[in-house]
Amino acid sequence: MMRLPLFEFRAPRTLEEAARILDGEGTSAMLLAGGTDLLPNMKRRQQVPRTLVSLRHVGGLKEAQLTPSGLRLGACLTLADIARDPRFRNGASALWQAASQVATPHIRTMATLGGNICLDTRCNYYDQSYEWRKAINFCLKKDGITCWVAPASSKCMAVSSTDTAPALIALGARVLLVSRAEEREVPLCDLYNSDGSDYIRRRPNEILTEVLLDSLRGWKSTYWKLRRRGSFDFPVLSVAAAVQLGNGGIAQDARIVVGSVASRPLVATEAAKSLVGRPLDEEAIREAAALAGRIAKPLDNTDFDMSWRKKVATEFVTYALRELRGEDVRTERQRLTRYPFV
């Protein structure tokens, strides 16, 4: 069986204690939430922290609070908690759909929102055992010097594969990062780098404690995920879209995010802008889909053919916008996913 390497295990009871340990250990420590990403990575020796700092016993990270100004979501809420919670089924339904489609029911009961946001980037040359990676002499992201996806590249192109981040960015989420010395609020779309190795701007001593959402009154949102199996699989393309519709179905504001085609979720600013001030008619949708599709530049390091994934990106934006204007797209959805949440 695949074995974890030896590590030191710390189980702080308070946020302060966790932050203090993290500060002291530097980059050799990592936070452990549900462990559904980190532990498999450790078994494959992709990540070999000397110390694991568990968040399981840290109080106060599992609440979902509805405040007059919006929502505060604790980082240790599990994806199953979110998938179950009816409060996410209106304006925030993109988040609910994204969370419901992560991995399997078993994993969702362990997996946390914070862990999903901080999920390591993925690549077919990287998500492999130590022995396999040894057979290709490793790669730029870990232990090696070449990127096998783009040998000329000096940058890793591993793929952002989180389902909830694109959805949350489409909902305008911010995250709260807490370290021993300070606390900062960052728009989620600014949390990520365009670099598969150095993919997150969270400092090693920071804990993501909360996700903050402004009131979503008047907004509608949705999430479309491409994967081989409708039952479970990491996304290899995703589209999150949110629109605020005014009188006569005129879009007052819109956000479109394309996930899993780059090292970070891509915000389709042009596409979203093209919708504002217009009704979501065929032409508006076609235009926005083409604009959003243009920014998707998938590489050959996930499942499926990259040019095909790009083609589907345009289709998915179309599905999403048609759904947001009230069309019944349940048939398309049912053919892509085996969950009864539609």
Binding site: L6, I136, S231, W308
Partner: protein
């Protein structure tokens, strides 16, 4: 109940029917091992923990092709907690499942042939310690040129991956001609030539291979292992360890799925056996999923060319099939697989002249071998798609075409296979009916379609893996004074339900329930040999052996009870745990008493039974692959939806009819059919044992693309469509209670039926598996551009074929021999067997 005083005659008749009614066979029952499985009490190999047990890990080659120049294990040996390091020098004797392909070493001595080939083994106190020590073994390699597919193998005779085989990197070539196909093509109204590619895929059993070996208290070897073929493992261990088989005990633990992936003797099994003997400690190994991908021996990738001539009415006049087979790095079952890519083409539709050419090449990838449907799946895919094309051209309904050309029961085919019952027509009729085929085919809206395909499969290989004249299966039965019955048999429960089949047969014959029976299977010390759980042989062969043993026990009990009750033997019946007079059912003894009477009369009551398949008329070289006591048949209809823009495929429903002869336990039989459909759907839509090379100027790597159960895509239970199963029961005289196989056959029609359905939905052919949305989009683009609306191979490379063996078919006066074969004398043959 009728009043006995009023109509006594009627009552006797009814009573007889009642006593002769089958009580176990044909009744859907919970399988005998179900309770243990669902309560987690089944002990798989990896569940075995013994005192002082050490753990083994294998160091595997990171290179696809290399010579080992030096191995230095001193650093590993010095690592605290390490007990032993083994290398090729410790186990140099070659072995392999087939006598003519003894080409494996438990640890490679000087030549590694694929990434994952084992080079050294570490045995340590902890598994983690063994793992750490692997990195401390220093191996120097000389890198060799790699071969990644058969075409490359044909073009790269040097360096050779093996120094045996036909020549260069060609392992095996076959050229068999049953009648003159050119004459057949001359008679044809239409000739079809099509190319197909079937991608390799793997078994993916949920249980990863594991083994535990001990030197038992007497100093002999015992090994528990997740193997489908304890007998063949037994032989390989005796050979490599140079021990008497009498001093080796192999216990096949219940397999958490096998599907053919546990039917070779494996290097890790031999290594832990050796280590346990050397250390005098239990030694365990549990493979990781990645290592299972390196063991593989799964579905061969096969390129095919089918040329078929037909008359206007659909009658086939001749068929020429060529297959190019990617064997991977070792022989494994490959010689048999090679023959299987052409053996069964004649079993479902009448083919009067048949020419078959096959070539298996060695490549630097994990070896291929038998996976459910062994070697016949790939050509079945091509044949059934080509029939769909033929039907369209001839303007015939594909079901109607098949009904016209279906082979007759008890026929002898062009290649001398003797068929038994043939339920193919009935399968087609049933599946057409339950799927409402006639309302759907070519009638559904764009983007929705249905496809139909059929298949045939063996019920057990007619010949053993190694030449011998002994039975293929044996059963011992012990009846004890408590009324208990114990079955001892070498058959291996791999999840398919073979224990249940044995219990059901014995219970039916002796009039008890399966709960009254204990079963000891898969243990070479306890039970007589059964060759193993492969080729769908166990129900028929071990089943017949069990039946014979049970009938013999029944005869003893009958005699003893008859004497005691003073009832003629013919009148005695065994049912409901009693032995009684059928004319006066209240007159009888309990089964328990019957056993005591028999023991008093004859001494200890024990019987044996065995089974040897009938001799096949196929006497030409290579004719040993294909014969079977009888064949099963299936027909399936698959419905698909295909998105015309993205090519996304969905399968909402599948209907399948399977000719099983008789379903001994219908609940289990349906499970096998559904399991086959599941596996077939995976092969049709997503499964791929795919390899990748890195840019050659930077690396010589040739690695499995994603040896993980997450990224090797296979459907989950949630991805399954609705399945409607029909069992066609037409008892076959060769099978116990008329039973034929069900474990493999129903897989075969699924892949071509999906392909045919995609064509019905969007008018494009994908002539290869897996059928993915990308390929459909490409084929749709071809269609739009006015080119051939298809995706698939377009040629078959040149192969230097040997002179064909000419075997005239029966209707041309053939006797099953080749007219141009130089035959070896039987003494030469025996000598060969002894040498291997």
């Amino acid at each position: 109940m009728p009043n006995p005083t009023e109509s006594p005659a009627v009552e006797v008749v009814e009573l007889q029917l009642e006593t002769d009614r089958l009580r176990v066979i044909g009744v859907p029952r919970r399988r005998v091992d179900a309770r243990a499985k669902v309560t987690g009490q089944t002990r798989y190999a990896d569940d075995i923990f013994l005192p002082r047990m050490a753990y083994c890990k294998l160091l595997r080659s990171p290179h696809p092709h290399a010579r080992i120049q030096k191995i230095d294990s001193s650093r590993a040996l010095a690592h605290p907690g390490v007990y032993l390091v083994l290398t090729g020098k410790d186990l140099p004797i070659e072995y392999g499942i087939i006598p003519v392909s003894q080409d494996e070493q438990a640890l490679c001595l000087d030549h590694v042939r694929h990434v994952g080939d084992p080079v050294a083994a570490v045995v340590a106190r902890e598994e983690l310690t063994a793992l750490e020590a692997l990195d401390l073994i220093d191996v120097e390699y000389e890198i060799l040129t790699t071969v990644s597919d058969p075409e490359e193998a044909l073009a790269t005779p040097e360096p050779r991956i093996h120094d045996y085989g036909e020549e260069g990197n060609i392992h095996k070539r076959v050229n068999l001609e049953f009648g003159n196909v050119d004459e057949g093509f001359a008679e044809a109204d239409e000739i079809f030539e099509d190319f197909f590619f079937y991608q390799g895929n793997t078994h993916l059993p949920i249980e990863q291979h594991a083994s535990v070996a001990i030197k038992d208290p007497e100093g002999k070897l015992t090994i528990w292992s997740s193997t489908q073929t304890p007998h063949y493992l037994h032989r390989a261990l005796a050979k490599v360890l140079e021990m008497s088989p009498a001093h080796i005990r192999v216990i096949a633990t219940p397999n958490g799925g096998g599907f053919g992936g546990k039917s070779d003797p494996f290097n890790h099994e031999i290594v832990v056996a050796k280590a346990a003997l050397m250390l005098d400690r239990p030694v365990k190994i549990g493979l990781t999923r990645e290592e299972v991908f390196y063991c593989h021996r799964g579905r061969h990738p096969v390129l095919m060319r089918f040329k078929t001539g037909v008359k206007k009415d659909g009658t086939i006049t001749g068929m020429h099939l060529q297959t190019l087979i990617d064997g991977g790095a070792y022989g494994s079952y490959g010689v048999a697989s090679t023959f299987y890519t052409g053996a069964l083409q004649t079993t479902s539709y009448h083919v009067p002249r048949y020419h078959f050419q096959a070539c298996r090449a060695f490549t630097n990838k994990p070896p291929c071998g038998p996976k459910r449907g062994h070697g016949t799946v790939q050509p079945r895919f091509g044949q059934e798609i080509q029939l769909d094309k033929i039907a369209e051209k001839l303007k015939l309904d594909p079901a109607e075409l098949r009904l016209r050309i279906a082979e007759a029961p008890n026929a002898v085919t062009a290649n001398f296979l003797e068929l038994g019952t043939v339920g193919l027509r009935e399968c087609i009729r049933r599946v057409v009916k339950i799927s409402s085929w006639n309302e759907k085919f070519r009638k559904l809206p764009e983007g929705r379609g249905v496809g139909l395909a059929c298949s045939a499969y063996l019920t057990g290989a007619g010949l053993p893996i190694y030449w011998n004249a002994m039975p293929h299966s044996g059963v011992q039965l012990k009846l004890d004074r408590g009324g208990g019955i114990t079955i001892f048999c070498g058959a291996t429960e791999i999840g398919q339900g073979s224990d249940d089949v044995l219990a059901a047969i014995v219970a039916e014959v002796l009039g008890v329930t399966t709960f009254d029976i204990r079963i000891y299977t898969g243990d070479t010390d306890l039970g007589p040999v059964d060759l193993g759980s492969y080729s769908s042989r166990v129900t028929l062969m071990a089943g017949n052996a069990a039946m014979q043993a049970a009938e013999r026990a029944k005869a003893m009990l009958t005699e003893a009870v008859g004497a005691r009750l003073d009832v003629p033997k013919e009148r005695l019946r065994f049912a409901d745990q009693r032995v009684f007079d059928s004319a006066a059912p209240e007159k009888g003894v309990t089964f328990h008493e019957a056993v005591c009477l028999a023991e008093a009369r004859f001494g200890t009551v024990g019987t044996v039974g065995s089974y040897t398949p009938p001799r096949s008329p196929a006497q030409f070289k290579g004719g040993g692959v294909g014969p079977s006591p009888t064949y099963s048949y299936s027909a399936a209809v698959v419905e698909v939806t295909v998105n015309p823009v993205t090519g996304w495929i969905n399968v909402p429903k599948i209907w399948i009819a399977h000719d099983i002869g008789r379903a001994l336990n219908p609940a289990l039989a349906r499970g096998q059919v559904e399991g086959s459909v599941y596996m077939g759907l995976g092969e049709a839509l997503m499964e791929e044992q795919e390899f990748r090379r890195l840019p050659k100027r930077l690396s010589h790597a040739l690695v499995h693309k994603f040896p993980s159960i997450l990224e090797y895509k296979s459907p989950t239970s949630l991805d399954m469509p609705e399945i409607v199963v029909e069992l066609v029961e037409e008892p076959d005289p060769h099978g116990p209670f008329g039973a034929k196989e069900v474990g493999q056959g129903p897989l075969l029609p699924i892949m071509p039926a999906v392909a045919n359905a995609v064509y019905d939905a969007v008018g494009v052919r994908v002539d290869e598996v897996p059928i993915t949305p990308e390929k459909i989009v490409k084929a749709l683009a071809e269609k739009k551009a006015g080119r051939a609306p298809r995706f698939g191979p377009t040629y078959f490379p040149d192969v230097d074929w040997p002179e064909p063996l000419r075997v005239p078919p029966p209707w041309e006066g053939g006797d099953g021999r080749a007219v141009n074969e130089v035959r070896r004398s039987s003494s030469q043959r025996k000598e060969k067997v002894l040498r291997t």
